[in-house]
């Protein structure tokens, strides 16, 4: 799967302990968000289970990636939750391929009350963004 417009910046300097902590943090965020979106008990979610097993559909997948972008302050591939279909895989991919240290830093804006943060202005993706880039508007 080709990633489009991704601002991917691998982070090789992360120590194993940091990596594990970051993965856990993203897993927790995703599980909380999913539980809220699908109205499930967060305790019933397994990070190893395919998200479709909890009823995640295409609409959820794109909106959840949008929320994740707002939280991490990164541009992510829209197909993230298709390509990495479990909480564990998606979290590991994000930690491995993106620089998420700023978003997870204690006291950072995005790390406080993530789920209640106001929606950021929607990013324009797809053909609209393509045209904007080309025309420079």
């Amino acid at each position: 799967m080709q990633l489009q417009n991704s601002s991917s910046k691998p982070n090789p300097e992360l120590q194993p302990a940091d990596t594990a902590t970051s993965v856990k943090a993203i897993e927790a965020w995703l599980a909380t968000k999913l539980a809220k979106q699908l109205r499930l008990d967060v305790k019933t979610l397994s990070v190893h289970e395919p998200l479709t097993r909890y009823g995640l559909d295409s609409i959820d997948a794109v909106t959840l990636v949008g929320d994740l972008e707002d939280w991490l302050g990164l541009e992510l591939p829209s197909t993230l939750l298709w390509d990495y279909p479990t909480i564990e895989k998606a979290s590991q991919y994000l930690v491995k391929d993106f620089d998420i240290s700023a978003a997870l830093a204690p006291g950072s804006e995005s790390n406080s009350e993530q789920s209640d943060a106001p929606d950021a202005p929607a990013k324009t993706q797809g053909w609209g963004n393509l045209w904007r880039q080309i025309s420079g508007s």
Binding site: M1, Q2, Q4, L38, R39, L40, H48, P50, T52, R53, G55, L56, D57, S58, I59, V62, T63, G66, S78, T79, W82, P85, A122, K123, T124, Q125, G126, W127, G128, N129, L130, W131, I134, S135
Partner: protein, 487 residues
């Protein structure tokens, strides 16, 4: 390529023997350059394509040269010029597809309907060349070419594309006619680095896929095909039964084809996308669509759904419905396919907005919600297959009326359904269904055991040999056509 056709294997053998003889002689004398492997693969693919369909080959060669020249031009341009070239290429590709596949439908069905409603006479039949037969593979290679244009446009890597590599990318013989629809990022690097490498591990893995594919197609799909009677429209029991048989047949037919393609490619050292991921193990329609015809679903996701939606995520349900309706229409220029696509789109929306609260309620009160989810999903897929299998829209209406009529479920209809098969037919059908159910159960087991691949059990070395033996024993005498060749 029609893998059921003896001439495919015959031509493959007739090409391979002299080619690999010359190749081994050339290698022994240090006169074999790596590029010759690519040229050999190209020759193999094109000869097999000519053998499969000359009319489709002519269109394919035109599209291939046009696409290659234009993509090369696009890669040398920037900004609006590149956009204009990409748009023009995609428009031409889609126009060719539309001409052969949809023009007569628009004139004879859509236009007739519109003019008829306004009180005008219906237009006369079009008699343009190629109007009433879809060139084999056109839907698949058109989509692969379109995807390549878009991916090349988006790619940061703007280096020139080798002509032989491009030809091999679009004409690779195991998948050119019926997919999997491959992407530049996965498939093109493999083509660029292609060398004939017949390693033992590739041969073994390829044989396992090939064996599973041949068994699914020649034993299961082809033995189920003769039982499916489209003419039946009055007996509700038979309607459901035939829809069930067709649901099994279409999966074993198309997955079988895909796995044969996968096996042949693997023997050559190429890894194709696994196009089916045990779709009948799905416990929801969303999950079903992640497992069914994966490369087509992801094509529509990446090149239709996501670009259409852009940032308008609040419109996602509408775009989802549009995308599914279009994906139904891709299967053929007929109302039943449009209905089938729209039905699946609506199912997803119903599941989202009505099914979730219901599922939560049921989940707390029933002992086996997982089983119930699976049964409802499978039932919905079977109902969808009723639309898919019936291209006569009038008869489809009759069938729907029958299914909704409680009197059509009478006991006399049960006995009529049973008496419509002879003892021999019933025995053969029972045997085929037993084998089919066993295959589906082994897929379920692999999913339950969380194996790396849904077909891990079916592809184990011992099982592959057993399936190959069963294929020799039980292959249908009269192979049926691959269903997806008509698309």
């Amino acid at each position: 390529m029609n893998f059921s056709d003896f001439s495919f294997w015959w031509v493959l053998l007739l090409f391979s023997i002299p080619f690999f003889t010359i190749r081994s002689l050339g290698k022994s004398m240090n006169l074999w350059w790596p590029i010759l492997d690519g040229i050999g693969l190209m020759a193999m693919s094109l000869i097999l394509f000519v053998n499969a369909s000359r009319s489709s080959f002519a269109i394919f060669i035109f599209e291939l040269i046009f696409n290659y020249a234009m993509v090369e031009l696009m890669l040398r341009r920037k900004g609006q010029a590149a956009v204009a070239i990409a748009t023009a290429v995609i428009a031409v590709d889609i126009a060719i597809l539309a001409y052969f596949k949809y023009l007569n439908f628009f004139v004879e069905d859509v236009l007739s309907l519109m003019l008829g409603s306004l009180g005008y006479a219906a237009p006369t039949k079009l008699n343009l060349p190629g109007m009433y037969s879809i060139p084999p593979g056109l839907s698949f290679y058109s989509f692969q070419m379109v995807a390549f244009v878009v991916d090349s446009f988006r790619s940061r890597d703007k280096k020139a594309i080798g002509f032989v590599d491009y030809v091999n990318f679009v004409s690779f013989f195991p998948q050119v006619v019926a997919g999997p629809i491959e992407r530049r990022s996965d498939f093109f690097p493999q083509i660029e680095a292609f060398r004939f490498k017949f390693s033992w591990s590739n041969l073994e893995a390829g044989f396992c896929w090939l064996s599973l594919g041949l068994f699914m197609k020649l034993v299961l799909a082809d033995n189920l095909a003769p039982y499916i009677q489209l003419e039946e429209s009055a007996n509700a029991w038979l309607l459901w039964f035939f829809a069930y048989l067709f649901t099994l047949r279409i999966y074993f037919d198309f997955a079988g084809y895909s796995f044969i393609a996968l096996g042949l490619a693997q023997i050559l050292g190429i890894r194709l996308t696994v196009n089916f991921l045990a779709p009948y193990t799905a416990q929801s329609i969303q999950e079903f669509w992640r497992r069914w015809h994966v490369t087509l679903s992801t094509w529509f996701r990446d090149y239709v759904f996501l670009p259409l939606m852009g940032s308008k995520k609040q419109w996602a349900p509408f775009f989802l419905l549009v995308t599914f309706t279009l994906s139904g229409f891709w299967h053929g220029a007929a109302w039943n396919f449009v209905l089938w696509g729209a039905y699946h789109g609506l199912l997803l929306l119903v599941l989202r907005y009505a099914g979730r609260p219901f599922h939560r309620f049921v989940g707390q009160h029933l002992f086996m919600p997982q089983f119930l989810s699976w049964a409802l999903t499978f039932g919905s897929v079977i109902l969808g297959c009723l639309f898919f299998m019936e291209s006569d829209i009038g008869r489809l209406g009759l069938k729907m009326q029958t299914l909704l009529n409680p009197l059509a479920y009478s006991l006399s209809n049960v006995s009529q359904a049973l008496s419509s098969f002879s003892a021999n037919e019933l025995f053969a059908l029972a045997l085929t269904l037993t084998l089919a159910t066993t295959v589906l159960l082994l897929e379920h087991m692999a999913v339950w055991q969380k194996r790396d691949c849904e077909y891990a059990i079916l592809r184990s070395p011992l099982m592959a040999r057993a399936l190959f033996g069963l294929t020799i024993l039980f292959a249908a005498n009269i192979p049926s056509k691959f269903i997806y060749f008509q698309f």
